[in-house]
Amino acid sequence: MSNSFDTSDVFSAANAASQPAWLKSWQAAGQSAFTAATLPTRKTEAWKYTPLKEVVAVPWQKHAETDFGEGIQFADWNEVSIRIENGKLNFHGELPAGVTLISSDDFSEAQAQSFIEKIEAQRGSFFFDSLNQGALDQGYWLKIDKNVQAAQPLHFNFLQAGSNSMVNTQLLIEVEPGANATVAETFTQVAGCVGFTNANTTIVVGENAHLTHYHLLLEQGESHHIGRVSAALERSARLTTFHMAIGGVLKRKDIAVVYRGEGAELSMNGVYLPTGNEVIDYHTSIDHAVPNCVSNQIFRGILGEQGKAVFNGRIHIHPHAQKSLADMNNRNLLLSPKAEIDTKPELEIYADDVRCAHGATIAQLDDNMLFYFLSRGISRAEAEVMLSFGFINELLDALSDEPVRLLLQPMLSELFAKGQADLTRHIP
């Protein structure tokens, strides 16, 4: 059986590029694995609701482009902005003390081995991983040294351009014991780009370390984004992570978190807002592999028009992982009768002394809330926008970095306004 997703152009381009020998051989292994694999179909459980037909029909290529635009700019955050253009690091700035960033072009032999080991240790069986490996544009290794409190937030500004442009990236974020950092990843593509990004992020949060992480999929138009975020938490580590997906043809992100030491804490929130014919699919998986860890997950979606979303939340509590606390909540607001959501908890609980709460709801706008607006003279159209915005804004309000909130709020108002500015004049 061979893979019906023809990526030969991309693989030839990868092979023609000048890359270090270790990467060439790692790519070769990825390419043969991908070529031998079978494309998931609607019968494959993990891809049941996510159509790949359109993605695989495009003859993807690798492009050398020059105009990537600005991508995302935060206001008043004092962040270090690190541009990644069609998968290539373009950064000449300065990093805060105790923070290092190297691209795979500059890895030593030992670093290359260690990088591969760390990436492979946190992999599951994601179909697109071997493509990522086989056509990898570049890997980047961000390290926050032991006990360092990174003085500035680090922003990975992923930019994409070109027509039928495929990009494969792998970011490794390593927060050493006792360190503390904030990392934002934003993904955009320039107007007119037809793009496919296959972006992987691998995170290791060391003992007593804390990472605040944003993973924001903001590509519009003819964009396809598939990929994984995979995090491992050591003893008493904390990961606070926020995900967002708006726009584009298809977005699919699999987020896996595994606990390697006791007393670790995860707070993971996310929002997705498909409209038009957009499809957004989040698969999360939390592995309580050791006792005494906490996970809190809140994902909210608003689905307009023919928008479609999937939220699949897996929680696995291993037999000896006593005193695990796992909380997962997924709420969805359907603004149109044609919108569709598939939400599914997958609980595998093998320990008895644990608390696991989960809930999923699918609703229209609340009539009581709507009437409250009307009874105060506010038009139904404006009330719907304010209520929808409020539903998502609850999670934005909880973000610890105000510049991130201030970046995202106007994007949401624009999304809800659909060109009618008077409907959004009372939201931030």
Partner: protein, 249 residues
Amino acid sequence: MLSIKNLQASVEEKQILKGLDLTINPGEVHAIMGPNGAGKSTLGNVLAGRDGYEVIGGSVDFHGEDLLELDAEERARKGLFLAFQYPVEIPGVSNMEFLKASVDAVRESKGLAPYTSVEFIKLAREKSKAVNLPADFLKRGVNEGFSGGEKKRNELLQMMLLEPSLCILDETDSGLDIDALQVVADGVNSQRSPDRSFIVVTHYQRLLDYIVPDYVHVLAGGKIVKSGGSELAKELEAHGYGWIEKETV
């Protein structure tokens, strides 16, 4: 300003209002009392235009217009205000944004320009003070985590900002201690004027010691079964509703 004739309404196929008559002139304060389940909140909801409350007979004239023909938001813009018995919580929408949206909508319908943010914040702070609601409540989600009394004061705050001509207060006193009751009563009294009328729905005579009504009506079994002056409230307090129900049988 308001003339209700033979109003009949049902909720979920069940008739609740069974021929209710009530006329209110500008500047008057009418108290409506009555046992639980009599239909007091239903009357408020029907007047405010809530979905699911079906009018099956009768008429309501408000400032010379057929009120029942108007959408809920139009009624509010034309000066009708209902202070809810159980105000809903709306997390994620700040009280300030909500208040401004509402005041702008009502002003716009009168051909007035919206307030600037600065003007509005000043006004909202001023009015919050008048109802003894700390200013930081303006930044919180609408009614989010407010106590019962705080929610009621937030209703009053909205009333003061919207300057309606008819205020329907649905048990705005319930669940309040005596100090909070005083605040609510002061708020209402400060808004009394020759062209503003009130319907004060209450369970207890207590509130009417502070807000002295021009008329007291007893609503039972879906109609007004007895009307009188403010002394009627005292009789009700002393004897309960039983004697009226007997009298009308």
